[in-house]
């Protein structure tokens, strides 16, 4: 009988049946978990009844027969002849049979879905006419009454991609058109065309954004099967477990969603098998018999975080102890073959299985983290990649090239006017705090002309440092689809990927964690799964470089207290210190012995700091010895004068900081 029915209608009927099946399943699980909602039994009955009638009408005998028996059973429960709770396990089994029967019915009829079925209101209780003519006459469609429902339409992903590609090409074409026009038109004529081009740009941007929005799907599109899966796994291990899901409306790019169900299933399996204890153990521990696993999804910065948390007993203490010693807990649990289970249960297989999940997530450019404790249960956090998801970035330009920095890493944008040289590096004064100042082009190794004076700088915060990244112009913030640069460019670790801007240009999206040089705190997992960088010694505790013997510092200041104070700090840090009370004495000292660095005050009698500097640079050996000016005043003129006279760094006593002093000395002596 299926052959004479319009395939589109068949497809629609199947979709509806599947939705009702899902609803029945959801309700059955709720009942099993103890829900007392009186309406539920009515809903169960109605859904079963609808499937029964639709099936009968379409000639789906198997489906109708199963639905009918379920309907009867629900009816008996409704009448009080049987307890619904008791019927659940068998109903679930019947439901599985029905799912199979529904799929089987439509397999032949549907080859490749044609145009998506237009939304129709749900069929009225007494069924509707099935269009069944086979003579080619126009077939009457089910009447569409009233307003268009909010039901989404289904479109094949490739169609959306084609539209996105077409939008992209149109943008490129527009860009080229603009270019050609600008070359050909005189200034008087161009004003009008500029207006139109601008409008075109804006409309294309909007179009671009809308299409990007179409590519994403809510997490719920893959989570429907989880509650049932958890329930079945719990039953198989004689445990009671409930799965709660929060934030399943979180949107993800569909390419990220592919492959996710399996990974999440993995983690859920572990949670049931190893996380949640048996009901008896739980009661003994004062917990509710039924364990709870919570799946929570939310956007977090530019990433999507999916957390799977159980309220079980956590990872065994001896594993935690192992974790403290060597690798982090995450690394330990994600090592291939690792298992916390004494016996190998059929359910969880050999290891905990997280190594496969880690591989998948890392491969996407994301990361995984495991937190666990005896009191808090275990939480697995999947941070999903920017690679395929939509990311908000701040766009800027340097040397004609567009770059994007994830907005979550950008604290603010400032105009860089106040920069000073400190220990060989430039620093920007940010409300009194010195911040490393870097030319974006230099950081990347890109050829570029000088930075503009008074140009913008992005204040970028990474896990362990803050940097002022200088560029030519800031273009603004934008939401982009991050595209991977591909395996051929995987060695270019400064980038998260690239994005195609509204005008067709390619912007390189930077990875702030990889970009800015400097010490990384050891044991800090890099959020993007890159191989860990060798930890460099953190700044503040810098010890003198391991050259032959201790480095020798010549400290010049006319105040004894200062000499004692600074001298003490330097000696404690391992330097060998000699003192002089003015420039002339300093030069005498330098004749007698060799020093690695000179720290000098400016205001001194007999010969002040600048004169001393001049003398050193002018000839006394070695002329290139590092010289740091330390002074009570921090005026710009002085700094300028110091820089011009050849000072390597400048420290102000008022802002004096033990760490700053040691940093500077260490940096210059090591150079």
């Amino acid at each position: 009988m299926s052959e004479v029915i319009d395939p589109e209608i068949l497809l629609l009927a199947r979709e509806e049946a599947e939705e009702r099946v899902e609803n029945i399943e959801k309700n059955l699980l709720a009942v099993e978990s103890g829900s007392n909602d009186p309406e539920m039994i009515n809903e169960l009955f109605r859904d079963a009844h609808s499937i029964d009638s639709a099936g009968a009408m379409l000639g789906w005998d198997a489906v109708a027969s199963i639905a009918h028996s379920m309907e009867d059973r629900f009816n008996r429960c409704r009448d009080g002849e049987e307890k619904l709770m008791d019927a659940v396990p068998e109903m679930l089994i019947s439901l599985d049979e029905m799912k199979g029967a529904v799929s089987a019915e439509v397999v032949e009829a549907a080859a490749e879905p044609r145009t998506p079925p237009t939304p129709v209101p749900p069929p009225p209780e007494n069924g509707r006419t099935v269009a069944a003519t086979s003579n080619g006459a126009p077939r009457p469609r089910p009447a569409q009454i009233g307003s268009v429902s909010a039901k989404p339409i289904r479109v094949s992903p490739s169609k959306v991609d084609r539209v996105l590609d077409a939008v992209g090409e149109t943008a490129v074409n527009h860009h080229r058109l603009a270019h050609v026009l600008r070359e050909r038109l005189s200034p008087e004529d161009s004003a009008e065309s500029e207006l139109e081009l601008e409008m075109g740009n804006r409309m294309l941007s909007e179009l671009h954004d809308s299409v990007i929005g179409m590519r994403t799907l809510p997490l719920s599109s893959i989570t429907a099967a989880f509650p049932r899966a958890v329930r079945d796994m719990a039953v198989a291990t004689d445990k009671e477990v409930e799965l709660r899901m929060v934030g399943t409306d979180t949107q993800l790019d569909r390419s990220v969603l592919e492959g996710l169900p399996e990974e999440i299933h993995h983690v859920l399996r572990n949670a049931v098998a190893h996380g949640i204890e048996s009901p008896a153990q739980r009661e003994a521990a004062g917990k509710h018999r039924r364990g709870v696993i919570t799946l929570r999804a939310e956007p977090r910065g530019g990433l999507i975080a999916i957390e799977i948390e159980d309220d079980g007993g956590g990872v065994p203490a001896k594993v935690l102890a192992q974790a403290e010693g060597s690798a982090s807990l995450t690394e330990l649990l994600c090592a291939p073959g690792f298992s916390t289970a004494g016996d190998v249960s059929n359910l969880a297989g050999r290891g905990v299985g997280l190594d496969a999940v880690k591989k998948h997530v890392d491969g996407l450019g994301g990361s995984i983290e495991v937190q666990s404790g005896p009191e808090n249960g275990t939480k697995v956090i999947l941070l999903l990649p920017l690679t395929l998801a939509v990311l908000r970035v701040l766009l800027c330009e340097r040397a004609g090239q567009a770059y994007g920095v994830p907005l979550t890493s950008v604290r603010e944008v400032v105009i860089a006017t106040d920069t000073v040289s400190l220990g060989g590096r430039r620093a920007l004064d940010l409300n009194g705090d010195p911040v490393d100042f870097e030319d974006l082009a230099e950081e990347l190794g890109a050829p570029a002309p000088e930075l503009p004076v008074g140009g913008p700088a992005l204040i970028v915060d990474t896990a362990d440092r803050t940097t002022a990244l200088a560029c030519d112009t800031v273009l603004g913030d934008e939401e982009v689809v991050l595209k991977s640069l591909g395996p051929l460019l995987s060695s270019a670790t400064a980038y998260l990927g690239a994005a195609i801007l509204g005008d067709g240009r390619v912007a390189l999206i930077l990875d702030p964690n990889q970009l800015v040089r400097g010490p990384h705190t050891p044991n800090h997992t890099n959020g993007h799964g890159a191989t860990a960088l060798t930890p460099i010694e953190a700044g503040p505790e810098a010890s003198p470089p391991a050259s032959s013997g201790e480095p020798k510092v010549l400290l010049v200041d006319d105040q004894k207290s200062v000499r004692e104070f600074q001298g003490g700090i330097l000696e404690d840090a391992g330097y060998s210190v000699q003192l002089a009370c003015d420039g002339r004495e300093a030069l005498e000292r330098m004749e007698e012995s060799e020093f690695d660095i000179v720290l000098t005050d400016i205001e001194m009698p007999v010969m002040d700091g600048f004169e001393l500097l001049g003398a050193i640079r002018g000839g006394s050996a070695p002329a290139s010895i590092p010289v740091v000016m330390v002074t009570g005043l921090g005026t710009d003129e002085q700094k300028q004068r110091g820089a011009e006279a050849g000072a390597d760094a400048y420290l102000v006593k008022r802002e004096f900081d033990q760490h700053a002093l040691l940093d500077v000395v260490s940096a210059l002596v090591g150079a």
Binding site: D161, L164, D165, G168, E169, V172, Q401, A441, L444, G445, A446, K483, S484, L485, G486, P487, L488, L489, S490, S491, A492, T493, A494, Y495, G497, A498, I500, G504, R505, V506, L508, T531
Partner: protein
């Protein structure tokens, strides 16, 4: 081998790429340099919504990096894509008898066509060589 190939000119020399590895040809367009990219990768390009890396074919084959790059041949091997930047594209034709005794790691053979030696490019080998080993 008699498979159909695309003949191109790169760095004044002639090469042929199997069309089974070629997705299409495009004008060089706007190349976005990627500072820090490995050698031979001259940048990336937006190709119909995808960002693909561009490789100077002549430079890769040891002919130096001074050639004019006018076209890109979009190459593909097992899901990996890139654009090979070349000076000219000639035609698409079947190759005749090729001399497979060739030393280059990136060529599978050579044939004399119309007086010019045409190197047959092993696209898969190029991708294999340029794709760093995936960390286990």
């Amino acid at each position: 081998m008699n498979a159909v190939h695309l003949r191109v000119v790169a760095g004044d020399e002639h090469y042929a790429l199997p069309v089974s590895n070629v997705l299409g040809i495009s004008a060089i367009g706007e190349v976005t340099p990627v500072p820090g990219a490995p050698q031979h990768v001259i940048g990336v390009r937006n190709l119909r919504g995808r960002v693909i890396p561009l490789i100077d074919l002549a430079a890769l084959l040891g002919l130096g990096d001074g050639s004019t790059l006018t076209w890109i041949v979009v190459g593909e091997s097992r899901g990996r894509r890139c654009g090979f930047a070349v000076s000219r594209t000639l035609d698409v034709s079947e190759l005749g008898e090729t001399d497979d005794d060739i030393e280059s790691p990136y060529l599978t053979g050579a044939e004399l066509i119309d007086g010019a030696m045409v190197g047959v490019v092993d696209v898969e080998a190029i991708f294999d060589a340029l794709t760093p080993a995936v960390a286990a």
